[in-house]
Symmetry: C2
Subunit: 209 residues, 2 copies
DNA sequence: TAGATTGTTAATCGATTAACAATC
DNA sequence: TAGATTGTTAATCGATTAACAATC
């Protein structure tokens, strides 16, 4: 770790680097230069080298980067090796879809449990994960605090769910409620997926061409 | 429209402005200054005024902005008033979740149809929208080209689906496949929702505190 | 060794913030 | 009118790109 402060812009590019490197590795590519990676990704070689230099020296002059090694390094920077634990709160369509399709393990997360209020769901297993009664949430967290909670609850209970989980010790939130949620607690981190924001930027672009 | 080139950074903030203004309007707030909107959103008043000035003059000295009016202006800038048409290609868990939960109409989109290969789904209606046989896609698009296609197909057919739709005239793609998709065609726009990228940035942050 | 490519420093470019005259 | 707040210009800050010595 070299730099004091790493900008959010750099951090947001790391998963994309990881994705490309993973792809290259799966295709059997052994080494790559910042130049050819840059042209594949549509960014400058300079930016890649500058970004990586925030975290260390991963390349070799005259050779470039070893794909597998660099993927590993970026994986470690992102914390993929940390085996974080995660729970899903709210098993509606979206929560269900994430349980069924999203590869938590591939991203270094172990999906431990899901919670909902619906009697029809409670006790069932989705993709090997038990859906528990939301009433059990407190007891569950007191036994072991998950690193992250996926918020797929209705908008109306988004903030109160956050408050409850923060009180229980949860510090990471992956927020799909399309609501801004906050916390007083300084260590709490939110990462929001705003579907509408995404579609609206597309709307903006297609509206003027 | 004042400025020649609007930066992507500005564009990506617009939906958030819209969201906040919509919220304020629903709470009955009539007017707001850049200063108080800024502190609500955690950004500077300067940035808000600078951003808005790219598109016109929407405020009044000594008064601020009329909430409803400004929401309307930003809505128009984003194209929410344009009544874009959209189709969903791939009705798995995620496609299904979007059909059930996402408020397309609220964001200026009319969801016209969905397509899948599964005989169990074809012919059914989800939230008032007919699921059609993917075989019908070509005929459907020849009758009327949707502005946007939601890509919720499996990764393995992501790019070929794009190619097919671009050939049919579709120019906007809301991509959920977690794959980079591209097109030679210069007018085609992609907006990708990369779940893994989002979770990995969260992973990064919680890994170091 | 010669060629290739890194990591890093310097230069450029763009985005954010501050300041303020204009004006409701 | 006086106070408030805009839109815009200027100043600052940060991020991206270019250049190049170091070195595999």
């Amino acid at each position: 770790m070299k730099k004091q402060h790493i900008s959010e812009a750099v951090i947001r590019r790391l998963p994309r680097y990881y994705r490309y490197l993973d792809d290259l590795h799966n295709k059997g590519v052994i080494r790559i230069s910042s130049n050819s990676l840059g042209s594949k990704m549509g960014i400058t070689a300079s930016q890649i080298r500058q970004d990586l230099s925030c975290f260390g020296e991963f390349g070799q002059q005259g050779y470039g980067y070893n794909v597998k090694e660099l993927r590993g390094e970026i994986g470690r920077i992102l914390g993929i090796d940390k085996k974080h634990t995660i729970i899903i709160v709210g098993v509606g369509n979206l929560g269900h879809a994430l349980m069924q399709n999203f590869h938590f393990a591939q991203n270094g997360f172990s999906l431990e449990a899901a919670f909902d209020v619906s009697p029809a769901l409670i006790g069932s297993e989705i993709n090997g994960v038990l859906v528990r009664d939301l009433e059990e949430l407190d007891a569950y967290c007191r036994a072991s605090i998950p690193d992250v909670a996926v918020l797929t609850v209705p908008q109306s209970v988004a903030q109160q769910t956050v408050d409850r989980l923060v009180d229980l010790g949860v510090r990471g939130f992956w927020n799909f409620t399309n609501r801004e949620v906050t916390s007083e607690h300084p260590d709490v981190r939110f990462e929001s997926v705003h579907f509408a924001d995404s579609l609206l930027t597309l709307s903006y672009h297609i509206s003027r061409q």
